[in-house]
Symmetry: C2
Subunit: 238 residues, 2 copies
């Protein structure tokens, strides 16, 4: 993991618009800015591993990372994908327990490491910031609950359709409509909560029906309407 002292100031970082740091005051932000260390992480490198102890958090300036957990059987399950503006590693500084999740870069990334105390102090003193963090966690929890529901109430086909739209909305598409965030079939499957073969079959089916285009690893949504119909469509339990 490449390290450098960035001359950039957090106060002017666009990324801040999206995360809880926006609730910090000038002084607090200045301190963060002075203490932070910007790192370059190449695709495939890990930002942190399960079991490690973090003494800070990482704020993502660019790129995306998968947050995954190793199951007993050895397959790793992607819990979520974090992108620009998101702060990862929050939880281990709140609980002071070793981290229970692994972060691996999905493309080249630029992340800022912010030491623990620069977060914990404002957390104690600045109740605006605090409330922001509480809101963030609450939102994460709600999202997790939605996934739980989907996993047992929707088919893999439906979940895949949802994920494709989600990837488009959250990470964008290029000029030709291909999803900017490129995942391997295995990663996509994990995100959907299935195995790669089932995922591939499902993709093939969508392609055959003209809902998506596939060129190598790249996927483009051709008919978002069609995907939405799949999502709304019937499953058994109706």
């Amino acid at each position: 993991m490449d390290t450098e002292n960035s001359s950039e100031h957090c106060e002017h970082c666009i990324v801040r618009q999206i995360n809880a740091l926006q609730a910090m005051n000038k002084r607090e932000l200045k301190e963060v800015s002075n203490a932070k260390v910007t790192k370059l992480v190449k695709k495939g490198e890990t930002i942190f591993k399960e079991g490690e102890r973090l003494n800070g958090v990482f704020c993502i300036r660019s790129g995306a990372t998968k947050l995954s957990k190793l199951s007993e059987s050895g397959t790793d399950q992607i819990i979520k994908i974090a992108g620009k503006g998101e702060v990862i590693g929050k939880r281990s500084i709140i609980t002071e327990e070793p981290i229970h999740i692994e972060a691996t870069a999905l493309n080249d990334m630029e992340v800022c490491f912010i030491p623990k105390n620069k977060i914990l102090e404002p957390l104690k003193k600045n109740d605006k910031f605090n409330l922001k963090v509480l809101k963030r966690l609450t939102a994460d929890l709600k999202e997790a609950e939605t996934i739980i529901m989907d996993r047992s109430q929707k088919s893999t086909h439906q979940r895949l359709a949802e994920i494709l739209i989600y990837l488009k909305e959250k990470h964008g598409e290029d000029q030709e409509g291909y999803l900017k965030l490129v995942l391997s079939r295995e990663e996509l499957a994990s995100l959907v909560g299935t195995v790669k073969e089932t995922c591939i079959r499902s993709l093939s089916d969508m392609k055959k029906r003209g809902l998506i285009k596939i060129v190598k690893k790249d996927i483009a949504i051709v008919s978002q309407e069609g995907l939405k119909q799949i999502i709304e469509g019937k499953r058994y339990r109706n």
Copy 2:
């Protein structure tokens, strides 16, 4: 929902040992105590419904409640079961959004309604309390992630075994070993993330193998070891 002014003081409530209120100071706790209203909720009654706006939280003194969400198809999915000592409805006072979950009593309950401001004020001023709440949410999030993993990596049979042990550990068993918290087959199925028939079959199988006893709706764990073997046992993806 029956309402009464309780003469009990929160300061002495045993339930407090388990939840974040323990981090409140004497004065804050006194205020909570004066403002709270104790309610009796009968089995089957709802404490709050999806879409409602809460202006407070509920602290569970006794009994248990299921927290569930209605899916588009109309089946309701139990997200979790909250019991003695747990505070429910936290999230809607943090986000100020209408609640997205429904709480229904699984048995006769005694809950204390605590108005919003008696929580929000300490949240701003008392950073110990605040940290406790953050920790609580973090723990909930971790739990949710574990469920997500289980839903796509374990079989229903394995998940059922886990839930049975979980119900025993969290809600206890009577003298004869029967689980104190009695759920309908449908509720149990929802908790496991399956349909009632599959759940029943799975239970029948465990019974046949002598791992559990079933008398009407009551279930007793006969061999926890056996259940643990199921949990550890193979699924396909190995």
